[in-house]
Symmetry: C2
Subunit: 137 residues, 2 copies
DNA sequence: CTACTTGCAAAAGGTTTGCAACCGG
DNA sequence: CCGGTTGCAAACCTTTTGCAAGTAG
């Protein structure tokens, strides 16, 4: 993803392309595969990779702004870490979770097919359905 | 579940049946339907229902002890609350999550049937598979 | 200029830990 | 009695908030 596209992406979401946001957006979205991270891991990687430094609060700000804009999604994980995982893949999809390494792996939506799904209780509608597969060695 | 069974359940798990544990165990396991709770909600309900009081730390202790003993399971939830949900249903099963009320509803394992499941990556095995269905109005 | 952002530090949850007092076997 | 438990407060960790200083448009 080129820098102009990053700028476009930010602007079209109503986000001012500040130095930090552009840097973080490039880091997150300028890659082929989907990327899973926590705020902490992102912070580490950013400080390692760039000369700038980022206040933790700014990363939280930015990540939430991206999430609200629909550029990131949040993943449920019941790992040892109590922290929140984010995913650059915003399509509806599923996850493997490696309980040994605390690593997430995407599963494309079409790799899971249902023969039977329960219907939503009284008056409610299904918003979305996630499959979570825990892995062991 | 009678008190003797509660005591047996505790003892067979190597847990001394102290006043608090018996009280909490009765509250959790002496019911027909499965029960979902957070430490905070459990604390509120306990203090309302009984004359005794419980230190928060004791509830954490006890809940974790029950979980380790296999009497409770933990549920992944990505709700607004950052807290951990527990479930008295320890069989492998699935959940509806009502995003409006933050309420969990069990789905029996046999209500979900797969036609296709991805296979575990390189050398890993599937430990378990959970389906999580978010509900809206 | 003005409004939005950043950085910093303090505050806010939720959960864990340390330790003296307590109690079940 | 002894070792597991409880209660309390302090410590911890992640995340949020308040506010002054900085910056994009």
């Amino acid at each position: 993803m080129k820098k102009t596209n990053i700028l476009k992406k930010l602007r079209s979401s109503g986000l001012r392309p500040t130095k930090q946001r552009v840097e973080i957006a490039k880091f997150l979205f300028d890659r082929e595969k989907t990327f899973h991270f926590t705020v902490e891991s992102l912070n580490k990687l950013l400080t390692k990779k760039t000369t700038n430094k980022f206040a933790l609060a700014t990363i939280y700000n930015t990540v939430h702004a991206f999430k609200t804009a629909g550029h990131l999604s949040e993943v449920d994980v019941r790992g040892k870490k109590k922290t929140t995982y984010f995913d650059t893949n915003v399509k509806n999809h599923h996850h493997f979770y490696d309980t040994e390494t605390s690593e997430l792996i995407d599963i494309n939506e079409d790799e899971v097919v249902f023969e039977k799904i329960p219907k939503a209780p009284n008056g409610k509608k299904i918003k979305n359905l996630e499959v979570f597969i825990n892995l062991k060695n």
